[in-house]
Symmetry: C2
Amino acid sequence: MLSPAHLAFAAALLLVLRPPASAVTARPIVAGKPAPSEAAATARWLAAQNTWGVLSTISSDLGGAPFGNVVSYSDGAPGEGHGIPYFYLTTLDPTARDALQDERTSFTLSEFPIGTCGKIDPENPTCAKLTLSGKLKLVDFQSSEADFAKSALFTKHPEMKGWPKNHNFRIFKLEIENIFLIDWFGGPKPISPSEYLEYGREQGSAMFS
Amino acid sequence: MLSPAHLAFAAALLLVLRPPASAVTARPIVAGKPAPSEAAATARWLAAQNTWGVLSTISSDLGGAPFGNVVSYSDGAPGEGHGIPYFYLTTLDPTARDALQDERTSFTLSEFPIGTCGKIDPENPTCAKLTLSGKLKLVDFQSSEADFAKSALFTKHPEMKGWPKNHNFRIFKLEIENIFLIDWFGGPKPISPSEYLEYGREQGSAMFS
């Protein structure tokens, strides 16, 4: 049986062995999946690794029912994800029209298409799922943020540059208000938008907030 | 220049060369993607080939905002898709709880994870996207439909059989009311739920309606 002195020593050892919080949040975003306990890191990794997801809006065509649509996105150039998803959407499509009437939107990503779930079922909680909810906002095409978004989008989706000019493509971004992440057993992980957005910021990467 | 007689001959030849409508609708669901002009066939192929998608509900946790969630599904055993997506959802998860309060749901699938889009961008209209909208209904666990659904789900998602009994998994199905398919340039293809559900029925496969 351990004495109180042993326990105090073990606790001190644990503190030494466990990296400080700042080191965890500064963990670089790399191809390998973060540990399930690192919720913000896992969410940012999912957002950085994926190239497409489903944007859900309140449908004006369907009388207020939800409507999910497959879209491409980017949160930064490859290896430089900043967490905010940017989209290049045409107002010929219902999703952009819906968002211009009602900004409430969720954006859903799965780890499955990245390939790292292996044989695990896409619905298994250890195959990570991320839903970012908030407001889908039009980005002023002449702003520096639009320049960043275009670079982020066009490096990951080169064919977008050639999409028809007369189709009224616009840049949108999701202003994140709620985060739903499942990356292990035990239910969704609580992550605040600031925890998510500030992850890795110490590495000196610029962000739009 | 062609005479009216030539034109009549050409029209007759076209009628001979083009398969009759019944032959088109009876086209078997196989691994190869149907032609873009065959909208119902393409939608059914997408539903049969995929194993997961995003279910969007009206979120009670988020005050009526849309909420998309990654889920597995099955519309039949491999090679025997019937078009109706069945789900195995736990009421520990917000999607099932949302649907029990407000049935309005959409289910969104992409061709991209099937692998047949190749280098085409996931948002390119020729990489097909399908959104089935309607009502998410609980299926009575003791019914013959539940037996069909369990067989459909467990053959495509074998690990589901071992998921914890105390997690209150229930079988749901989407009653389809609206179909949004993009599989080529020129906007969404109009498909009615009956065109979608009746596709391939001549082949003698049983369906739950």
